[in-house]
Structure formats: structure tokens, C-alpha cells
Symmetry: C2
Amino acid sequence: MTAGFAAALSQAQAKISTHMDMRLPQADLLHEAMAYALRGGKMLRGFLVLESARLHDVPEAAALEAALAIECIHAYSLVHDDLPSMDDDDLRRGQPTLHRKWDEATAVLAGDSLQTFAFELLARDEVGPHALPLIRALAQAAGKDGMVSGQMLDIAAESAATPLTLDQITTLQARKTGCLIEWSACAGARLAGANPEPLRHYAQALGLAFQIADDILDIEGDAATVGKAVRKDADAGKATFVSLLGLEGAKSRAQELAQLASTALTPYGAAGETLKDAARFVISRDS
Amino acid sequence: MTAGFAAALSQAQAKISTHMDMRLPQADLLHEAMAYALRGGKMLRGFLVLESARLHDVPEAAALEAALAIECIHAYSLVHDDLPSMDDDDLRRGQPTLHRKWDEATAVLAGDSLQTFAFELLARDEVGPHALPLIRALAQAAGKDGMVSGQMLDIAAESAATPLTLDQITTLQARKTGCLIEWSACAGARLAGANPEPLRHYAQALGLAFQIADDILDIEGDAATVGKAVRKDADAGKATFVSLLGLEGAKSRAQELAQLASTALTPYGAAGETLKDAARFVISRDS
């Protein structure tokens, strides 16, 4: 991690966490469970929102609502994905998953209200004059033709007779994780009413690089460092970028994508340096 | 059911169903499961949206998005509420619950994407210039301080040492079912940028009357007609309006509330007649 990116990421984490404490007072068990689900992540999506907003001179008060909103959507998807009827995971971000810490009903409801809360945040006055296109884009990215459809494809793949092809895995991951990363990186442009295309190209390469790195971590990583179970996909015989491209092939594809992501930021000149660092970080992270 | 209300309700059901078929093409299993969850309900909430929009001369194209949106939120809450880890129900609207028809993972994800879809619909251009306050109000009504908090209270009540008091049940139900009914009835005024207060008073009385009627149905109803299991609450020893007020007391309270709901519509004159009929229907329904 370069010093510039490391500082920007940890600043983003601190700002989003402070904002979370203000917007989500721990009034009762439900609020507490929601806050639990939000804590301990890298907040890469929230960072992308804040950084793309900075590139477009968007007021930080607007960007913070959007950054917290996307972290809520991401956290809700993890809580539901970890449920016994889905991936049945016990560990997330180094802590017990929400249904292990409390119970399944609390996990279902905390996930549900994290999603609602994301839209509540985006409908706040602070978001400014371009809230509606941002809300529309989030609903499209997170819903039946975006993230959730990717999760459905993922479940179907588990019981499929033949492993997925590279094209199918790429589609699956573009929906499951790519859509939210794309929304995050485009958020700054959308909040400013500007053209999100350069950031979209950046994010599409970044999102795929991120997922390839995830598959590499599943093979090379250590559960204690990664903060969740590893080798689950490999042991289950699931097709991954590593099983399809080989370990070295996957690493060099991730490198190419990180380079592609950097090139997409050319219109931003030197101001895009931190986002370029983020692309390098994504393929070299150990958790 | 009076002829005027019966006609208005069945017209609303037909219009919302047609709109649903257009907005939710059955592209894959996820879309199919979402549509399954939406079908077969009374669409009382959608009716309230269309009828309140009519009172405020809101274009029907706008009202239909809002009507379908609230039916999506209601359907998602039922799908998740029926899960084994929650109420564990096998029957809903006379059909197998979604996790019985398919499986739990599909039920979790179909519910999740129904919620997302509701916000996607409300962010459409058709909704017009007052979409944002409508979205904000829905997120508040459905989330951590609204419907989901009511569900949490309901779960907590099941393991509580003493049954809830009348005040506690009233609070629980105002959140669990009242908030969405209130949003629905106020939607027409909000879409028009008008004052929703008369409709709010109507809806608050209507929502409570609706829930008292539900508790009466749980005692007096027949599962085949009601379309879901009955006597669950009574058999579980849960406090209900009937256990707290007695059957006759509950019936006369429901009557008073229906009258109160009607009185709240006085500012609308004769135009409010169909909504007054709806209040009478709510306390006399058999399903």
C-alpha cells in the first residue's frame, strides 16, 4: 500500500465510522446489530465514493451519506450471504457472523433494515440536487438485475453439473461484486451531475481485479489474516479465476486489469493518483 | 363490501397486476419468485395509494409506480417473516410460502430484491417531481424505526416473561403494519406535494382497526378462507387485542376506529367515500 493511498483509506474509514455513529445511534438491539455488521470492513466502497466525490468537488456532507449508504448495502449483503441457508459462514471480518453473534431472525432483520437505511441516507437533504439518479443507479446495481442476481447465479453454480466457464464467472462476478464497486466509483460524478464514464471504466477493471485477487486470497491466504474462511471455493470444486486461469495466469490478469483501471483515469491527471493506488492495492492486499 | 369499494379495489388489483407484469418481466427464477410473492394479495396498500392519488389529481402513471412499490415492500416483509427462523409458515395467501415452493436461499434473495425493486420504482421518472420525499418517507416507514423495528418487537415479545400490555401491542402494531398503511394512504398527497395530515389521521385509525380485525380473524377465521394459519397467536399464548380487550371489546374498538378513520376524511367531502368504505371493509373482512 503506498503511503498516499494508505492515508486516504484510513481517513475515509475514520470519517465514515464517525458519520455512522451519528446517523445510527445505538437505540436498541436492531441498531446495535446493524452497527456490528458495518464495523471492521476495509470500507473500500465508501472510500471510492469519497475519493470520486473529491475529484468532482462534491461537498463532503453529500459524499458521506453516499459512502455510508453503500457500506450499508455491502454489509447487508454479507449478513444475508453468511446465513445458514446461504453460505453458512461463522466468521466475517475476524468476528462471529451476525447470526452466530445473535440469531438468524436478527440477522435477517438487521440485513433488511441496513438495506432500507441505505436508501434513507440517499434521500436526505444533504445529498443535494442529484440524489434521485444516484438512488436509481443504486437500486439497479443492488437488485434483481445486479448484485442479487449475481448471488442467485452463484447459488445455481453450486449445484450445476459442470463448472462455470470463464465468461460465466466473469458475468457472475460483474453482477455480484462489480455492480456495487462501479456504483461507488461513479458516485462522485453522479453527485456532481457529471459524466461517470471514465470512472465506470476504472471501476469495471477494478471490480474484476478485486474478485480475481479474492480468488487468489482464497488459495494463498490465511484465515486469521483474511478474516473469513479460506479454501472454501477450492475445496468445494467451484470454478474460480484461479481454477480457470491457473495461479500465475490469474495474477497476471489481475495486474493487467489494475493497469487498465489506471489508464481509465487519464482524464483526471494527477488528481487521480490515489484511485490508481487503490487499484494497485486491490491486487496486492492480504485480506 | 359496498359495491363502490368492491369495484374500486378490484380495479386497483387489476391495474397494479398489469403494471407488475410490465415492470417485472419473468426473465429468470429470481424474477419469477418475486412475482410469485406479489401475487394473490388483497393489494389494500396499493389501493390506498391509487385512491389517495385520485383524491389529489395525481397522474395515474405516477401513482402506479408507488402502488407497486408498496406492494413490493409488503410482499418482501411477508416472505422474510414466513422464513423458518422467523414465523416458520407454510401457507400464505392460500399458496405455499416462498421458501416451501423453492428454498430458503431463494426466499431470502427474492425478499431482498423486492425491497430494492420498490426503491427502483420510486426513483423512476414517471413518479414526478415529489419522488424524493416519498422515498424518504418509505425508508423511514419500512426500516429500523418503522416496520422492521416492529418485527423485532414482535420477536422479543415471544420470549418475554410477561405478555405485552395494550400500550405495548399498540406501539408494536403501529410500527409493524401501521407505518406502511400510513405511507400508502399519504402517498397521494405526497405525490401532489400536498399536506398529508388528513390522510395520516385516516390511516392511523385504519391501520389499528386493520390489526384488531386481524386478531379477531385469528380467533374466528377459517384457514382456508383466511389463506394462512389461524389461531397461531392464541395457541401460543401471545397477547393480542382480543386477549386484552375480549372479543366483543375488540370488535367495538375496531368499529370506533373505522368511524374515526371516516371522520378524518371530512375535508375531502363526497370524494372520500371510497376510502370510508375501505375502513368499513377492513373491519368486516373474512380474509
